[in-house]
Symmetry: C2
Subunit: 446 residues, 2 copies
């Protein structure tokens, strides 16, 4: 008999079915054994009655995470046994059990509250938890919505490289490969230079880039390997054209997550992100600092960036006053932004840059870029960067780039805020940081 | 006036328009200047008549790759001047010219036939060539078709990590980061172990993984950084279930490329890939070797794999006899495949493995995998691998994985064969190999 996926069982009431999956939970009630069966599409309750002797016997050794093929009949549950969840009103009465693979006894209870290190130590098992599956289903949807929306607006996806010749931006701590065919190479800290180059061929370019940061940071926000969703577009008037596309992307992402994963949002006890009817609120950094001081007290004015606490405050205020979980902060001091950032001609100590905050966290950073070759070279020099080291990149400008701008969204950060995860590492399936690459570094071998 | 994209000009005949773009080519005919203008959506011919004095004057300095904003009126070309190409029957008569950015004189003629090294040295410029834009538009479509088809069949995308703790498969030459927070780390040679792990949470998992191979190979097929389109699925009967999904993916890719890029295929003088009405032809390695000896002479039988020349021959034969540009080769000797490959129980020196050849080149490799924990550990030991070093990965098996299988398609390889590119490096926007990371290594600085 062809296999039926668990999500399709509701359409087969009264029919015989064969299912494959993992034993999620097993409970014994004398002559009845109850199993929650899990496959890639969902879970369902299965009952094995002792009167089906060979099935009942075959089921005796079953424990959590064993995989099985089960054949039985789909039945409606008695009214008083129904649950308000997928397949909550059906169960499958099973008459045949085939074990496909066994599992060791689990090192902890299925739903035990684990500390993060234990959770990460056992990812090949713990990623199977409902909570983890939810997180990464939502993450896949976010990524897909990002790509689909930009493709529909004329952006072309390209592959930004991971291996680069130097630590391009000069600021971030880049990981180094000491022996790259006898020379050295580095891991990209951003796809920035490449997406600017790709404005030349495509005008509108996007990439989902793996980026790497070796800072010695142990905060809940630091990952050594990050997925950046980046886009760059030509012929902009200023940074606001980029913000406008970004806002549209965010609206598609929120719409898609809300539509596909209402059940997940409910399980995580979070609301669908609040979107204002009109545009996302936009404040210059100095305006945001005024709001923070006025509404929350403390000292913010004159700082070159927002402290994490200030990001949370301005978001709290924007939610209350503007009905928005998203806030743009613009016009950061030029000296605080990367060398390629365009200044604001009206006030050159400030830049045509922005951050997008989402529920208290900066999830995106962008700007209009310098497009004039000579201005870019001069800016590099004024910052102590050697244009010679950027000769490859600078060709894009030598041979004509229009006014352009772009931005970069951290996939793990937006996922974490979407589901209110306390630590961004939970939004990386295989997080890398100061302390671990799969296993903890203290225990790792050279 | 709002900007009109070049691809939309055909709908605006007789109307005033503003366009932005690059000067692709400029030609002077006395009192008429002709410009081919290029934006992200296409090209169009523009005419500037000396009678529009200020526009004509502003246009005088224009050279290839300058970027401009032009305002004018869309006109139909005289019958005898029409070309059979997009916008071939219109031109825009321009009355206003604004220069947005300048470009240096190009280092070579726009369409000069360049050797590959010169081409790669100047990628920020040469990626703008029509040929390069075509290649990477097609590549973006291939990737999108891969993802869309698998998502529609219930696969969930995840992010395989780049940073890994060890050279997992023990065979490939992995690049090493000597100082990863005081320990060492490596770059992934494949997403294999992670996609097997992700069968646990998702049953059907896919990833577009950056992978890295440090072999000292200078062939036209070697790249140090590769994009692998990978998927893995649970509850398979054997490798043929994987092949069946892969074949469907290839049919979607071919369909999408043919539909969206008929013009590109024409410009590259290649046919749309030939698909057999029934399934792709499948030969065991030994059968393929027989065919090669019988049809082409030479020595093939008994070899553990196909030589590149033999791959070309079996493809040539399959195209002639089966009307297919795709051929599956199965049952490679177990000893030649990775440790996780499932043997064929009927003949254990052979494996439930396959390669997919496309137009003479292996573009995909896959198999059913070992799913039993003890069998996997024993196989590792028999191959001299230390199961301790795989402890993280092995948890997936300790805690129950069903029979599963998967495969991996090289994005650059399938792109190269789709467009008949002589060198796979041309299908990587920023190719990395023994000799270069953007710039040539001989010239690179430590």
């Amino acid at each position: 008999m062809d296999r039926t996926y668990i999500s399709d069982l509701g359409q087969k009431i009264g029919e015989p079915v064969t299912m494959c999956g993992w034993v999620d939970v097993r409970r014994d009630h004398g002559k009845l054994m109850f199993i929650v069966l899990r496959d890639g599409t969902g879970t369902v309750q299965v009952v094995i009655n002792a009167k089906h002797a060979s099935a009942f016997e075959a089921a005796q050794p079953l424990r959590s995470e064993w995989t099985v093929r089960l054949t039985g009949t789909v039945k409606e549950r008695p009214e008083n046994m129904r649950q308000d969840e997928p397949n909550g009103s059906i169960e499958v009465s099973v008459e045949s059990v085939t074990v496909l693979s066994q599992a060791n006894e689990l090192p902890f209870e299925k739903d035990a509250d684990l500390n993060l290190d234990t959770y990460f130590d056992h990812l090949p098992l713990t990623l199977r938890r409902a909570r983890s599956r939810d997180i990464f289903h939502v993450q896949a949807t976010i990524l897909q919505a990002f790509r689909d929306s930009l493709v529909s607006w004329g952006f072309t996806e390209f592959q930004a490289p991971v291996l680069v010749g130097g630590d391009a931006e000069g600021g971030a701590a880049a990981f180094k490969i000491d022996d790259y065919y006898g020379k050295s190479a580095f891991l990209a800290t951003s796809g920035q230079l490449y997406k600017q180059i790709m404005v030349g061929p495509f005008e509108r370019a996007m990439t989902v880039a793996k980026t790497f940061r070796g800072e010695k940071s142990a905060t809940t926000r630091h990952l050594a390997e990050i997925v950046q969703m980046e886009f760059e577009m030509g012929f902009v008037n200023d940074h606001r054209d980029v913000m406008s596309v970004l806002e549209d992307v965010m609206r598609v992402i929120v719409g898609r997550v809300t539509e596909k994963h209402a059940d997940v949002l409910k399980r995580f006890d979070v609301e669908s992100p609040l979107l204002p009817k009109n545009s996302f609120p936009i404040f210059k950094l100095s305006e945001a600092q005024e709001i923070i001081e006025r509404e929350f007290g403390g000292k913010a004015m004159g700082e070159l960036d927002l402290e994490p606490e200030h990001e949370r405050q301005v978001c709290e205020w924007a939610k209350k006053e503007h009905g928005s979980d998203f806030v743009f902060i613009t016009h950061f001091p030029t000296q605080k932004r990367a060398f390629y950032t365009h200044t604001d001609p009206e006030s050159p100590t400030y830049s045509r840059s922005f951050d997008l905050l989402f529920r208290g966290l900066e999830i995106n950073s962008g700007s209009q870029r310098i497009h004039d070759y000579h201005e870019l070279v001069n800016t590099m020099r004024s910052r102590g960067l050697d244009p010679e080291k950027f000769a490859f990149y600078l060709q894009a400008f030598k041979y004509g780039l229009p006014p352009h701008g772009g931005c970069s969204t951290g996939l793990e950060r937006i996922t974490a805020r979407m589901l209110d995860l306390a630590n961004v590492k939970e939004a990386s399936a295989f997080p890398r940081d100061m302390t671990r690459v799969d296993t903890r570094l203290a225990n790792s071998e050279e």
